[in-house]
C-alpha cells in the first residue's frame, strides 16, 4: 500500500469546501482496516427485527461490520446480541442462520452458553479446571448497548455512544415511516420470511451513498422503466401520490443520515393506488386516510430511500425493505435484505407485496441488478494508481441547501435541498462523507456528538 494514513489526513480525503471525495477511501486497504475500528465498533448498527425472534430461544445470526453476531431471545423473553465466537478458542458457537435453541454449544471443545449468553457448561470442569474457572467471567461477549426501536434491533460496541434516539436525532421522523404501519400505527410491521444475502464486488460505501438519495441515476434503471414492474404494472413504482409534490433531499451532516422525500401539497388528499386489485387498492387507500388522520401535517411527507450512517439503508414505502451493507474487505460487500409488511395487512396484500418485492429487489430484481453492475465497475475502475489521484465529484447543488425549510406551515427538519426543479442534488452524499470524515478523525463519542456543543447542525456544505 502506497500510503499509510494518519487520522489528521482524513479530512483532506473528504474535501467539503470543494465537494470532492478521494477515491482512496473506497479502495485503500489501510483506510478500510481503520474503518472497522473507527466506524463499525462505534456507530449504531442494524442487527435484525424482533419479529424474527418472536419466541424464547429464537435466534438469528447477523453481522456487525465484518463480525458475526447472534441476535437471540432468552428464556425470560429478553433480547440479546452476542459476538458469535467462543470465549475459549474463538470458534463460532452458532453456524446456523436462524432457529430455536435452549443452548449454544461450541463444536470445538464443548463450552456451552445459555440463550442469555452465560457460560453454563465446561467439559472437564471438575478434573481439568479443578473448579477454579470463574464461569461468570467467560460468558459470550455481549454488545454493551442495544435497543429495540419499533421492532428494529440496533446495537453498538461503544458503551459511550449516545442513546439510539439521540444518534438518529430528528431523522426519526423519516425512519418512522419505515417501521410504522402504512396507516401510521406505531411499529406495525413484520419481516417476511427469507433474508436475501449476496456478495457485490464493490466497497460498502457505494450502495450506502446510492440509497441516501441518488436521484441522478435514473439512466441506470432505464430498462426496468421501459419494461414496467410497478404495482400497477408500469414503471418501477406507483407514483401518483407524488403528483404536485415537492422533491426534497434531506440530510443531517452532523449525524450522517439522509433520505429523499416527496412533500405533498398542504391541501393534498389521499389518492387511490395499487388499483389492479380492489382488496389491495382499498387497503392502501383506507390506510392513507387513517395515516392522515393520525399524523396530520406530517402525513404530507412521503418517504423515499434513505441511509442511517453508516451502513443501514432502507426503502420505507415501495418496495418496503431494509438493506445492510456488510463490509467484507475494501473490494467486497455482503448485502443482507429484509422485507417488511404491515403485520395487520390482509393476506392478499402481503402476497401482492411479496411478489413485487421479489421482482424489484436484490440479485434477481429487475431494478437492482443494474445498480450492482454500476457499483461493481465504478469500484473496479477506481482502483488503479492513476485513477486514485482524481477525486469523485460531489458538487451538484452545493450552496443551495437550507436548514430552515418550511412549506405551507410545515417545518421540515434537517439540511434540505429542494430539488423539485433541479431534479437531483448531492447534498445527502456530502453529508454522509462529512460524517465519515468525523468518524475517522474523532477520538471518542465526546467529539462525535457535535450536536451537544450546538454546532454542526447548520452546515450547508
Amino acid at each position: 500500500m502506497a500510503i499509510t494514513f494518519q487520522p489528521s489526513a482524513y479530512s483532506g480525503l473528504v474535501d467539503q469546501d470543494n465537494g470532492m471525495v478521494s477515491r482512496e477511501i473506497f479502495v485503500n486497504a489501510d483506510i478500510y482496516a481503520e474503518e472497522q475500528e473507527r466506524i463499525f465498533t462505534r456507530a449504531w448498527l442494524f442487527v435484525g427485527h424482533e419479529s424474527q425472534i418472536a419466541k424464547p430461544g429464537d435466534f438469528f445470526v447477523s453481522s456487525m461490520g465484518e463480525e458475526s453476531v447472534i441476535l437471540c431471545r432468552d428464556r425470560q423473553g429478553e433480547i440479546h446480541v452476542f459476538l458469535n465466537s467462543c470465549m475459549h478458542r474463538g470458534m463460532k458457537v452458532c453456524r446456523y442462520d436462524e432457529g430455536n435453541t435452549p443452548i449454544f454449544t461450541c463444536p470445538y471443545h464443548g463450552w456451552s452458553f445459555a440463550t442469555d449468553g452465560a457460560l453454563v457448561g465446561v467439559p472437564f470442569y471438575k478434573d481439568a479446571y479443578h473448579e477454579e474457572l470463574d464461569k461468570s467471567q467467560w460468558g459470550l461477549i455481549r454488545v454493551p448497548r442495544m435497543t429495540n426501536y419499533k421492532g428494529g434491533i440496533w446495537a453498538t460496541w461503544d458503551e459511550n455512544a449516545p442513546d439510539f434516539l439521540e444518534y438518529i436525532g430528528d431523522f426519526r421522523t423519516y425512519l418512522d415511516i419505515l417501521f410504522d404501519g402504512w396507516d401510521g400505527a406505531e411499529g406495525g410491521t413484520e419481516v417476511i420470511g427469507g433474508i436475501e444475502k449476496w456478495l457485490v464486488p464493490s466497497n460498502w460505501k457505494f450502495p450506502a451513498e446510492n440509497f441516501i438519495g441518488d436521484r441522478y441515476h435514473n439512466i441506470s434503471h432505464r430498462s426496468v422503466d421501459l419494461v414496467g414492474i410497478g404495482p400497477s404494472g408500469q414503471g418501477r413504482r406507483d407514483t401518483r401520490e407524488r403528483d404536485n409534490a415537492r422533491a426534497l433531499d434531506i440530510s443531517f451532516p452532523e449525524r450522517g443520515h439522509g433520505t429523499i422525500v416527496f412533500l405533498r401539497p398542504a391541501d393534498a388528499q389521499p389518492v387511490p393506488s395499487y388499483q389492479n386489485d380492489p382488496v389491495i387498492a382499498d387497503y392502501f387507500y383506507q390506510s392513507e386516510i387513517a395515516r392522515k388522520e393520525r399524523q396530520g401535517e406530517l402525513w404530507r411527507i412521503l418517504g423515499g430511500p434513505g441511509t442511517i450512517f453508516p451502513n443501514m439503508s432502507y426503502l420505507p414505502r415501495q418496495p418496503r425493505s431494509i438493506a445492510v451493507w456488510h463490509p467484507r474487505g475494501p473490494d467486497q460487500t455482503e448485502v443482507w435484505r429484509w422485507f417488511l409488511v404491515d403485520s395487520a395487512a390482509p393476506p392478499e396484500v402481503k402476497e401482492f407485496l411479496r411478489q413485487y418485492y421479489i421482482r424489484y429487489s436484490g440479485p434477481s430484481g429487475l431494478t437492482e441488478q443494474d445498480d450492482m453492475e454500476n457499483w461493481n465497475y465504478a469500484h473496479a475502475a477506481s482502483r488503479g494508481a492513476m485513477a486514485r489521484r482524481h477525486h469523485y465529484n460531489y458538487q451538484m447543488g452545493m450552496g443551495h441547501a437550507v436548514t430552515d425549510f418550511e412549506d405551507g406551515g410545515l417545518r421540515i427538519p434537517g439540511t434540505v435541498l429542494d430539488v423539485t426543479k433541479a431534479r437531483a442534488g448531492e447534498q445527502n452524499q456530502r453529508s454522509f462523507y462529512t460524517r465519515w470524515a468525523d468518524f475517522m478523525a474523532a477520538r471518542d463519542w465526546d467529539e462525535l456528538a457535535g450536536w451537544r456543543r450546538g454546532n454542526g447542525s447548520g452546515s450547508t456544505c
Partner: protein, 181 residues
C-alpha cells in the same frame, strides 16, 4: 424413478426429454430468449428458493417456501417475459454487454410419466446443472444445483410447466441473477 414395466418406452422418453432439455439450454446460451419463452406454458411456475443453514432434523426449514417467503424467484410467465424484454432493451446494464453463458444439464432422471411412458402427457424429471457465466473481462460465476421440472405435452411438443431450482449456495456468490436456470 418410475417403475420400468415398459423399459423401452422409458428409454425413448428419456432420450426425448434430454433432447428437449439440451435444445432449451442451447436457446438460452445462444441468447434466443424469445424462442425460449415459447417453451414455457402460459401457466408456468418458476421457483428458486433461498437456502438456509439449519440444524440436523430441521431440514424442512432449509429452503424458503414457494408462495410464502421471499425467494430468489417465485413467479410466472408474465414476470419472466418482462425479464426477457428487459434484456432486449439493450440498456439493461447488468446484461449489456451480454454475458457469455453455458448451461450444462446432466444426471437426468425421469421421476414420473403420466398417463404412461409410452404416451406421456406430463413428465416430471430431476437433473443437475452447472451454469457458467463470464462477462465483461474476467468476471466469472459458476452456479451448481439441482433442478426439478414438470413438462407438459402441448401441440405435439414439450413445454415447461414447472421449474424448481435448488441452488447449492447460502450467501449468493454472484452479484446478480440476470440469467435463466
Amino acid at each position: 424413478m418410475v417403475v420400468a414395466n415398459d423399459p423401452l418406452a422409458l428409454l425413448l422418453l428419456k432420450q426425448d426429454v434430454e433432447t428437449f432439455l439440451y435444445h432449451e439450454a442451447n436457446l438460452l446460451d445462444d441468447r434466443r430468449y424469445e424462442e425460449w419463452l415459447e417453451l414455457l406454458t402460459d401457466d408456468v411456475r418458476y421457483w428458486v428458493p433461498m437456502r438456509r443453514n439449519v440444524k440436523f432434523g430441521e431440514l424442512e426449514r432449509e429452503f424458503t417456501r414457494e408462495g410464502q417467503d421471499i425467494n430468489w424467484f417465485d413467479e410466472g410467465k408474465d414476470t419472466l417475459t418482462r425479464r426477457v424484454n428487459q434484456i432486449l432493451t439493450g440498456v439493461h446494464w447488468a446484461e449489456e454487454p451480454l454475458s457469455r453463458i453455458a448451461h450444462m444439464v446432466t444426471n437426468v432422471e425421469i421421476l414420473e410419466a403420466t398417463p404412461t411412458p409410452a404416451e406421456p402427457e406430463t413428465v416430471s424429471l430431476r437433473c443437475r446443472f452447472i451454469i457458467y457465466r463470464n462477462r465483461v473481462a474476467t468476471e466469472t460465476d459458476i452456479l451448481v444445483g439441482r433442478r426439478e421440472d414438470m413438462l407438459r405435452r402441448a401441440d405435439g411438443q414439450w413445454r415447461i410447466a414447472q421449474r424448481q431450482v435448488f441452488l447449492d449456495q447460502n450467501v449468493l456468490l454472484a452479484k446478480n441473477l440476470t440469467f435463466f436456470f
